[in-house]
């Protein structure tokens, strides 16, 4: 099988990060003698050459599917890269225990599979953290309000009405979600619940009966919280949908822009 070497040598010499480099001893399979080589670990590839400045690469070890083993001391500080039955075992050694430990750890973390799992895990954590942040951002803007004892005041957020009396208040004041695009917000709560401006009482008839204000009870503050929770769920769903659609949009558009040079 042909391994296109020029791609590898270019990768080695380009400016992407080197993960570890240094002298190690490498045992030859045939004669069990250690030879000192300069090793460069980059991504999931371990290159080796005679000296650091050498242009000529002696070889490369692709580190997928191998286990890294610490070995008992044989005068040196050995360890091995084992690929499994029927496949190679590379025997390497460091000059001291600290170097040995560092190389073993670095090689252990070098595989593509390992990085893949790590990225997936962190990606999930990131999404969770982002969602939590957005939720707590919207909640904290309500909790920071502390009402005076004798009157009901709804916190003013955006162009909402401030209620000064009784148990009536405007639904539109309850939940301002600033990060949701207006067209999404327009589909949700404000349309479902008719706005009632508490200051306007119908001239030709009585005020709406208590029963119409289904979520309104005798204690306006408690009821406000209920309302907030009730509509908050809708808002949260909408926010999640929006975040998801933004993510896929961004993934798609990034394909054209990526230049891995």
């Amino acid at each position: 099988m042909k391994l296109h070497e020029k791609i590898l040598t270019h990768f080695l010499s380009c400016t992407s990060p080197v993960d570890k480099e240094g002298y190690l001893y490498k045992k030859k399979e045939r004669n069990a003698t250690y030879y000192r080589r300069w090793f460069v670990l980059k991504a999931n590839l371990l290159f080796y050459q005679d000296r650091p400045a050498d242009r000529h690469l002696l070889g490369v070890i692709v580190l997928e599917g191998c286990t890294v083993q610490l070995l008992d001391s044989d005068g040196y500080f050995p360890f091995s890269l084992e690929f499994g039955s029927g496949l190679k075992t590379y025997r390497l050694a460091a000059g001291d225990a600290q170097t040995q430990g560092r190389w073993v750890k670095a090689l252990f973390l070098a595989s593509h599979c390992y990085l893949s799992c790590l990225v997936r895990d962190l990606g999930r954590q990131y999404e969770e953290v982002k969602q939590q942040q957005e939720c707590s951002d919207s909640l904290s803007s309500f909790r920071s309000f502390s009402p005076p004892t004798n009157s009901l005041v709804v916190p003013t957020l955006g162009p909402s009405t401030v209620v000064r009396e009784g148990r009536s208040f405007s639904a539109s004041a309850a939940l301002p979600p600033p990060s949701i695009p207006t067209k999404l917000a327009a589909k949700k709560s404000p349309k479902k619940w008719q706005r009632r401006n508490a200051h306007v009482t119908p001239l030709n008839g009585p005020a709406p009966p208590y029963g119409e204000w289904s979520l309104v009870g005798s204690d306006p503050l408690i009821e406000f919280r209920k309302l907030h929770d009730f509509y908050g769920q809708e808002v949260q769903k909408a926010r999640e949908e929006w975040l998801r659609s933004r993510q896929t949009e961004e993934d798609r558009s990034e394909n054209d822009l990526i230049d891995l040079g």
Partner: protein
């Protein structure tokens, strides 16, 4: 240059979600499109003659760019969907692949780009930085790998950093 060929061939036999028969054309002048079984495993693109067990070759998917898929007209007024990979060495070697559909092209480019170790590393650094910014905690601490050179924010040259404001 020596390499662990047997082990790499073994790697090429691992199951992969991205494996298909595509037309493939090499970078040299005079190269023609040939039918190959193309298979993506970790950050390598292996290509086989159909029904052969050992790959003909392996391409390391690092330091390349993909100009995106293109449509080209062929004889008799038909159309082909193709994508290419150009390696960023001095020779700027270009490999061209023919797919059955636009969707297949997009899937391949997407998968190939995301398979690159350097791409994954950049994502990791982004997540690490953001989680730390939002929570004050380093997510790699729990794994005991915070100090590894491999995962450092400032390692190597700064490649394109993702714009966090878009999120």
């Amino acid at each position: 240059m020596r390499f662990n060929e047997k082990e790499l061939v073994c790697l090429s036999r691992q199951p992969s979600e991205m494996a298909a028969e595509l037309g493939m054309r090499g970078p040299k002048k005079g190269d023609v499109v040939k039918k190959r079984l193309v298979k993506l495993v970790v950050n390598f693109l292996f290509y086989f003659r159909t029904d052969e067990e050992e790959p003909i070759g392996a391409l390391l998917l690092e330091q390349f760019r993909s100009p995106g898929y293109t449509q080209c007209r062929v004889e008799r007024g038909g159309h082909l969907q193709t994508f290419s990979i150009v390696f960023l060495d001095e020779a700027e070697r270009k490999y061209l692949f023919e797919c059955d559909s636009e969707e297949q092209c997009k899937d391949w480019i997407d998968s190939i780009i995301k398979a690159s170790y350097e791409f994954m590393r950049r994502n990791l650094i982004f997540y690490r930085t953001e989680i730390h910014r939002l929570t004050g905690k380093d997510p790699l601490e729990q794994y005991g790998i915070s100090d590894e050179a491999r995962f450092q924010v400032n390692s190597g040259s700064q490649l394109v950093v993702r714009d966090t404001s878009s999120l």
